[in-house]
């Protein structure tokens, strides 16, 4: 390679600092000069070294696998010798309970957690299937509210003016509503609006209720992120790199999505990861209070509600759901904390 100094046209520029020899390279040394790591990659690397995050991820993965393979796990229990039928979360087996509703079967090879008092449904199947609504509601509601929150936050923060005022007003309005009270009242009303008049089976009603709950959770869950994103965008748009992009002539939508949004990835991921356990808890709370999922959908919250009065007599009815719910929510919350730490440069250990 030719020495660039020989071909240098501006050699006459030698004042003050030029007289001193060039100092050694100050830039951080890398094995390869061509590599560079984005802030996202740095966060990911930090997360991979976080033991708590790994344990939590394993726990969450376990429950996701349970939810996905619930039919398979249930089938592993084989055929019940009394009824001659395979275990199922929905089918009631009056043969397995006595006249007072007390289960005749405890922990056994064909019913790992025994059967439900009164209805005789297989408790392990209900536990495994119960992971589904919790996880689906948690992740779907978190994803939907994140999309809505980010969109409205970006819009309000960047456009400003009347748009911003309207969005801020709506955010304030929704935040001022008494959430639990309203949800308890709204869920049955919305369900009636959708399903009213039609002759629907219990399964169909249960499915409608499931999506109504997600919709209601999203409707009341997007404001926090919208506010956060709006504030961040408002500060980012005054940063000089956004001004520079405008001075170059970059179109507005490109400024928003290529310059501003990448800088919000951290707060958005953190917010979403904290929202998932919050939604799961809220769904369980609603189910426990009777405004959530309805029979026959298996739900941990409902099971806890049903089992709480007889937990001393039938501990296997109550505890699996309590433990699973607690472990899942705790793991998601701790993982959310770890993600936040990984994205927050001041928490570097």
């Amino acid at each position: 390679m030719e020495n660039p100094l020989n071909a240098m046209p501006g050699a006459a520029f030698e004042i003050e600092a030029e007289a001193t020899p060039p100092p050694a390279v100050v830039a951080p040394e890398h094995k390869d000069v061509r590599t560079g790591r984005s802030p996202g990659q740095v966060a990911w690397d930090r997360l991979k070294k976080d033991k708590v995050a790994i344990v939590c991820a394993v726990i969450i993965l376990f429950f996701i696998l349970v939810a996905i393979f619930a039919p398979l796990l249930t089938a592993l229990q084989g055929t019940d010798p009394t009824t001659g039928l395979p275990a199922s979360p929905d089918r009631t087996n009056t043969d397995l309970v006595d006249i007072d509703g007390n289960p005749l079967v405890g922990m056994s090879p064909h019913h790992w957690l025994g059967v439900e008092p009164r209805l005789g449904r297989d408790l392990f199947a209900r536990w495994a299937y119960g992971a589904r609504p919790s996880l689906i509601i948690g992740f779907v509601a978190a994803a939907a509210s994140t999309i809505i929150g980010v969109t409205l936050g970006l819009l309000g923060g960047y456009v400003g003016g009347a748009v911003d005022r309207v969005i801020s007003w709506v955010v304030d309005f929704f935040l001022s509503l008494p959430l639990l009270l309203l949800v308890l009242a709204i869920v049955p009303i919305v369900q009636l609006r959708i399903a009213g008049g039609n002759d629907l089976t219990a399964e169909e009603l249960s499915t409608i209720r499931f999506w109504v709950i997600i919709a209601v959770l999203v409707a009341f869950g997007w404001m926090g992120l919208a506010r956060l994103v709006r504030g961040e965008v408002k500060s980012l748009r005054e940063r000089e790199f956004v001004q520079a992009a405008r001075a170059i002539g970059v179109p507005t939508h490109q400024v928003l999505f290529k310059e501003v949004l990448p800088n919000l990835v951290g707060p958005i991921i953190v917010s979403a990861s904290i929202a998932v356990p919050a939604y799961i808890t809220f769904e369980a709370t609603l189910s426990y209070l009777g405004a959530g999922l309805v029979e026959p959908t298996a739900s941990w919250g409902r099971t806890i509600s049903d089992a709480q009065n007889s937990f001393a007599i039938y501990p296997l009815w109550l505890w699996p759901s309590v433990i699973a719910l607690s472990a899942l929510v705790l793991a998601l919350s701790l993982l959310g904390d770890s993600i936040r730490d990984a994205f927050d440069p001041t928490s570097r250990r």
């Binding site: 100094l5 520029f13 060039p22 100050v26 790199f241 170059i248 970059v250």
Partner: protein
Amino acid sequence: MTQQQIDQQTGDEGTDRTGAAAVPQTAPETSRKSGQETGQPLLKVTDLQRYFPFREVQGLKMVRATVKAVDGISFTVRQGQTLGLVGESGCGKSTTSRLITRLDTPTAGTIEFQGRDITHLKESELREIRRDVQMIFQDPYSSLNPRHTVGTILSTPLKVHGLHQGKEKARVQELLELVGLNPEHINRYPSEFSGGQRQRIGIARALAVEPKLIIADEPVSALDVSIQAQVMNLLAKLRDELDLAFIFVAHDLGVVRHFCDQVAVMYLGKIVEYGDKKKIYEAPEHPYTQALLSAAPDINVARGIAPKERIRLVGDVPSPIDPPSGCRFRTRCWKAQDICAQQEPPLLSAQADESLRGKREGGLHLQACHFPEVKTDLVAEVESA
């Protein structure tokens, strides 16, 4: 040549040497006129105003007021010329640069670029102007998107304007060499560079679209003094090689003296003195300019020559919400008399006829003071003796 040698030569603050890549920048770009157009000014700013209205709640009353950030300033910049805008913080320097780049829209007045009025162009119509007028920002830590690699940052202007299609990477590397950085560092993130290197990236970004006018908003004030010199030398070199016009915003009088052809001194949104560098520095007529110059550190003190008496200004800069009547500097001026409060002094030449508007022998020199300190050569000599 080993990688380490390249690093040492082009990687860091060590040098302004840019290598052979400086030459292709001047390669002919078909439709763009180059060369001196001495007849018509590149940029003409006339009576530029920018008022920021705001509302404030005082008790139960809503008070409406305006901050007069820039209040009627005029100047021209010609091809290859450099105008320095100096003044204290809050005098409207940065607002002026934002107005010229049309990141902000003026309240009144006109901005003409190459004879075309760009004052009220829409964003879509501004695209051509954006190619010709670029900006270098003050804070190298905030002016580069931390989420993009250097390659992305420098190829964005190329993509937006459809330049060097298909050969963007080569052009980006050329730009990096032009500003004295290692072209191998194309995939690095801004956080992996020092302040001086980041500012070089900012300069490369401004140069990517081959502009004619660059507005540099305090480009070195955030850098160490030793790095400042290197970046200033780089800017001077690029200016001469690429025949760029500059508007150089600064509060460092030494840097402006080193770099600019003409100087405009601003105070509270107005230009109080405007003229050729030599005139402003050697024969300042406005009291504010004199005070500014006397406040600048003097090398003669270090050389053992007794310093001149320093002018100490009393009080703070008045609020631009409610500037003083008449001359805005009168509240801090030791020469102020009744007329200063009643009449606003126009920006005129102190010595020549008004009709000549300062186009006297010896260059441009305008000032806005009722009692300018006009030095004839004789008087100046007597005083300095």
